[in-house]
Amino acid sequence: MTAKRRACGWLITSLGLGAGAATWEIAGRSVGAAFVAPLSETLVRLAGLARSGELWHALASSLALFAAGFALSVAVGVSFGLLLARARLLRVALESYIAILNATPMAALIPFILSLMGFDFAPKVLVVFLFAVFPILYNTVEGARSIRSELIEVARSFRSTERALWRDVLLPFVLPFALTGIRQAIGRALVGMIAAEFFLSASGLGMMLQSAAQSFDIATIFAAILLVTLLGVALMELGGAIERRCAAWRNLAK
């Protein structure tokens, strides 16, 4: 892309963002304070929440939940997926069930988790885990399925140790698929995070949204949504960057 075209692109983008901001502001002022908070008011509220510390408190609480659930699902999803890459019988036996669970909306299990585990931190972590683990597992198994058996046979012919087989064949082959799953799981885990904070014990950004909605505090609702959106964009960009960086050989593996 030429420099001129790129500059033109940035100009259009900033015009678009400016127009969006203006529309938001005008809509907020004309539709009525009960429906839309203008951009300016939203930003002022966001700054106010940041100054009072409420925002950082909610953010930290939500991020702790996200991190715990997501780390757990990456650990379980990737290691179990790798195991299935090696143990063919186990993979064949379980892959249909993994696909079914991946297509099942895990949100449906929240009421059961609530009634069995109550209002602790652990059930919320379980919700995030259930939302995130199946995309990871599903994609990792997809990678495991497409490992060419020649690769393993060659490694065996050279009397590769089990350890070397995992390190040099299985892990590099399956990792790009796992990373695709991890990237998809970020979005699901965020949904799980907010859902858990809504429907299990209220905490973090979910609680901030919930209580703002109950008091019809529209500016705080918009501020919290803006914050959640920025969080989502940052995490997804991070996931995409890691995937691009670590999965560069993916297309060569085919």
């Binding site: 259009i12 703002a212 959106t229």
Partner: protein, 270 residues
């Protein structure tokens, strides 16, 4: 489906044996998982907790009840309706973004931002705008599905081979015809991958919306029954939701294999 990594040096007759052993492994694993569930619940959990035999026992009465059927129709109907709306608008917007530099630069941050935003977060806002109604649930499913369709349609429209467009131009095809007859079919595989993800998101959106706004549907059915300690009944609704998710995915996979056999699944669904 990617190719099975199975050695090709088997003697004739082995294929069938392998196939039956595969089915046996699947069924065996399923039976084992159900067995673990059943014994685990019997041994450690209170009596109201769902277990396979309990679910089977209540299955006919739940599936026969009008309340359950209307709940299933409401949820699945709103998912299909939401997907339909998201599909129509999303394809138009995605293709515009994929083919027009200006549109792409104008909208890319909005689309990606709203795609990255967990749709659950706007439920409080949706209830303020739409009230505690069916409309709120529909809005949630549309919102959940729309942006992944736009992103994938745009990726697909961007990936249309240049030769196709040049041929179109050589034949002096009109712009609309190029879009409908070249760009749309060529971006279909990406679009189908997007629809698969969109359907999953719409289903989650519908269930969570029903929890939040307590409108008749499978999510509310689950909430209501699990609160009154009828977990077996509630699990039936989970099974129907799972069936919906799996059925839709199977449909999309079938369409992909049947009509776009050249497409590799791992190309880049978002």
């Amino acid at each position: 489906m990617t190719s099975e990594s199975r050695p090709l040096t088997l003697a004739p007759g082995w294929g069938a044996a392998l196939l039956t052993s595969t089915a046996a492994a699947k069924l065996g694993a399923g039976a084992l998982l159900l067995g673990i569930w059943e014994t685990g619940v019997r041994a450690w959990a209170p009596a109201y907790v769902a277990r396979p035999t309990g679910v089977i026992a209540v299955l006919p009465s739940v599936l026969g009840s009008g309340a359950f059927l209307s709940a299933a129709a409401a949820t699945l109907g709103s998912v299909i309706e939401g997907l339909g709306i998201a599909l129509l608008l999303g394809i138009a917007m995605g293709i515009a973004m994929g083919r027009s530099f200006v549109v792409d630069r104008l909208l890319r941050y909005y689309v990606f931002g709203l795609f990255a935003m967990p749709m659950v977060a706007i439920l409080p806002l949706i209830t303020l705008w739409f009230g505690y109604t069916d409309g709120a649930r529909l809005a949630t499913t549309v919102f959940a599905a729309f942006f992944s369709i736009v992103l994938n349609a745009a990726d697909g429209a961007r990936a249309v081979p240049l030769e196709y467009l040049e041929v179109g131009r050589c034949f002096r095809a009109r712009r609309l015809r190029v879009l409908v007859d070249i760009v749309l079919p060529a971006s279909m595989p990406y679009l189908l991958a997007g629809i698969r993800l969109a359907a999953a998101r719409a289903l989650i959106g519908a269930v969570v919306a029903e929890f939040f706004i307590s409108v008749n549907g499978l999510g509310f059915f689950i909430l209501f029954n699990s609160r009154s300690f009828r977990h077996n009944q509630a699990i039936v609704a989970v099974l129907v939701l799972a069936g919906g998710g799996v059925g839709f995915e199977a449909l999309v996979n079938w369409v992909t294999r049947r009509y776009f056999p050249w497409y590799r699944r791992d190309e880049k669904p978002r």
